[in-house]
Symmetry: C2
């Protein structure tokens, strides 16, 4: 008889955005986000001034890595800015690019910035009760545009994996999200963006099943 | 170029447990749950007395049925009892039995009653911020043990499907959940339960990938 996973109960903690029952935890410090911001000097200064704080932390429940299984977790992102750009995650596409992800806002005010292989940008606003479906093949990055912690639950296929290099290879995502100076946000072009080649796009889209 | 799904924003409505952005909706009326309760006469009387109310309703977002994609939705279950048994869902195992499901409590007080192919029973309590991971190969049924609507978000693999017949074939689940008379619940044996045969168990467990 094959081994079976056990049912599990997880509890999302309101106080700190963590999760009881998690099987894993990771966090990112501000210094690890070097290269993501237009204003590299402001980033370096903020790292020094603030003592390299944790800017996001993830508690995840990962029962297995089997195809067909699922991972569930909670991510907590701190509020803040580097120049006029908000704190954000590195972003990724799934290593199996045809795998989706679902983000479900628990607290705070955020955005999911998405980009297709061809470079089409989309933004979806996330907050309590708002859910973002990131379809297969879309690069995605979370951004805290509020003044409080942004807490999101997420679920995705257990065999999806992450490719964090895709954004670096195109020198960032096509669009940047900046403070609009009126307590909101705006999309601006990333002037350093390098579109993916037709061959790169084809290789991504060939990932099926 | 193959077709890609678009990103989507869904909003869980607090007022009625529905979801903006859903692609589908279904509901079950009390009469459709005939055969699930020990007290068939009480069930029939309740259907007549109450005018066959909707006992649960589901709003779902189903971008595709492709392997690797995911479905997200919200289910709202009304509170109530038939004899000493609470309102519950029909329950199912996934047609692809190795697919899991994740339920995330939004409001109310409920249980996930689960059963392995061999007939092991497990219960997990669900409420706001509590999440139940239903592993691959576990039959599962939701039960509203509170006095208010039970609202749960759920996500599962898009190719999972449902086998609703598995519970009927064993004449119910091994355990029943009953009112304990002290505002709580208790598990009791289902005296009519017929265990699955070794061949049936083997056929279920052979479903991989």
């Amino acid at each position: 008889m094959m081994t079976m996973s056990d049912p599990a109960r997880l509890v999302i903690r309101g106080a700190d955005g963590g999760m009881d029952g998690a099987t894993g935890h990771y966090e990112k410090r501000l210094s690890e986000l070097a290269g993501l911001y237009v204003d590299a000097a402001a980033h370096a200064a903020a790292v020094g001034r603030q003592g390299d704080p944790v800017v996001y932390a993830v508690d995840e429940f990962r029962p297995s890595a089997k195809a067909g299984d699922m991972i569930f977790g909670v991510t907590r992102m701190l509020p803040g800015k580097i120049g006029d750009e908000f704190y954000l995650t590195r972003g990724h596409i799934h290593a199996k690019a045809d795998r989706p992800e679902i983000y479900h806002g628990q607290a705070g005010r955020g955005l999911m910035l998405m980009e297709s292989p061809e470079g089409e940008a989309r933004v979806i606003e996330i907050g309590p009760n708002a859910v973002c479906y990131v379809p297969p093949f879309w690069i995605h990055r979370s951004i805290n545009v509020g003044s409080d912690d942004l807490v999101m639950a997420f679920s995705y296929p257990a065999d999806a994996g992450q490719d964090y290099g895709i954004i670096a290879r195109s020198n960032g995502m096509r669009k940047r999200v900046v403070d609009d100076g009126k307590s909101g946000w705006a999309l601006v072009d990333n002037l350093g963006y390098r579109p993916r080649s037709a061959a790169e796009i084809q290789a991504l889209m060939a990932q099926q099943g």
